[in-house]
Symmetry: C2
Subunit: 277 residues, 2 copies
């Protein structure tokens, strides 16, 4: 795999934010990170995360809560941030992404509350009972890019090097397991290493866990909160998604991201609308 460095990759170029005035950033949402022409929610969260990392006194996202208001489309957007609180070890900020509306005004796409800190300044104590997901070795997993190509736009998949656990891809051939799981090895396609910002993409970049329930329609996120727990070590990530409760037309989806050093580097939970399929 070609290796590119952090800062000089398509992820970095296409999540770049340009300061317009203090706390306000211009960005062009790329058509390369879409599914069905809608901008992926994880990519959008990474863009917002980059703006907040510039605006706030601490560099790293620690807890990021996003409420998705309307589908984002490729093209220009503006991010308006507010510093809510600046503390010694954590600062809290808010951000919204706006895009031009048909009536000449603006429409808000996502609103985010986030607490930022400095991952490198945290103590080394770890007491983890969580276990890494049981994913077969990478070479025995299925390259998502080599599967059957469904109709429609899956540009996002060209940006990723996803190797899917064979146990969680039955849905692609009409045989979902019914367990509501999705597991994969995750890399960016150009080999760019993971960092706290790219983890915001990683938690929402796999096919939805609902697919493994046999529900393969559109699964829009209502709310997603991600916790970044430590800076990922170099090497591929393992991602495990699970949903345990579909009810009332909504389902939750939990994501865990593990690094090559067997550390739980990010957790997320989202509430999404259940597909009708």
């Amino acid at each position: 795999m070609a290796q590119v460095s952090i800062g000089d990759s398509e992820f970095d170029r296409e999540t770049a934010v340009v300061p317009r005035e203090p706390g306000v950033y211009d960005v062009t949402l790329s058509p390369g990170w879409t599914v069905m022409r809608v901008v992926n929610g994880g990519y959008l969260l990474a863009v917002v995360g980059r703006a907040l990392g510039d605006a706030l006194p601490h560099p790293d996202p620690i807890a990021v809560s996003a409420h998705y208001l309307s589908p984002s489309v490729p093209g220009p957007a503006v991010i308006r941030t507010e510093t809510v609180r600046s503390g010694r070890t954590l600062s809290t900020g808010q951000a919204s992404v706006f895009q031009p509306a048909e009536d000449g005004g603006e429409v808000e796409r996502i609103r985010v509350l986030a607490s930022y800190g400095d991952l490198d300044a945290l103590p080394d104590d770890t007491r983890t009972t969580a276990k890494p997901p049981a994913i077969p070795p990478r070479e025995r997993c299925l390259d998502a890019a080599e599967g059957p190509v469904p109709p429609g736009d899956f540009s996002l998949m060209d940006r990723l090097d996803l190797r899917m656990d064979p146990d969680t891809v039955g849905w692609a051939v009409g045989e979902p397991s019914g367990r509501g799981s999705m597991r994969a090895w995750f890399d960016l396609a150009d080999g760019r290493a993971a960092d706290p910002l790219s983890l915001l993409l990683t938690v929402d970049a796999l096919p939805p866990a609902a697919f493994d329930l046999g529900l393969t329609g559109w699964t829009p996120t209502v709310e997603l909160t991600a916790h970044v727990r430590c800076r990922p070590a170099p090497g591929p990530l393992r991602v495990a998604l699970a949903t345990r409760n579909l009810a009332g037309g909504f389902l939750e989806e939990d994501a865990e991201v593990w690094d090559s050093a067997d550390r739980l580097v990010a957790q997320s939970r989202q509430l999404a609308r259940a597909p009708r399929g």
Copy 2:
């Protein structure tokens, strides 16, 4: 147990909000819902939830994300809300709680983003693989109010009728299980039935799961997101807390709340600072 009705209970009286102007509410945070003189985060979330339920076009909290900024104290506070988006099935709002500061200004205690809907209008479809927690029958659990009284203020415990699973109270006698679990039957002390608003209290009202790791100090919440999944049936609730990853001075805590009809009525996850004890 004395039975009081929803609307005429200490929970309802002490979470009451008084409209000052559209979207702005006055409230008196009660000294009855504190631990170590700090207002409980779940009670505070219920107060904010009541204000948002009045301000937004939909009545019920569905997804509520809170970032805790500074400890709230008993006394007057003002809640300022903003309607972010009004949709057909969901509306999204924002709210902040402010209290008077020593310098004569205001200090922000908590900022919340929330999506509201109408739980009674949701479809009945349910596909749940989650199982209710294995808690012994209520009569074989331990009345939290009858345990050894630790020094300090635990007023919150007088508001609740908590029956703790004996397997998760070893910490009280210096013998934590080390699993990071906490389970209990939950009622309000005056018998007021559960509703979507009181679930916002329920998810953050038990002793922290960290106690079961032997860490019994202060565990302040950084961020908490709650999902209310359906209106709880009458009868006692079962609450299960778990933490799986303590690292870098933080830990996550997941809560599940189950009703008497064996439905998962609420889920929450918080990121908290790990106690030093």
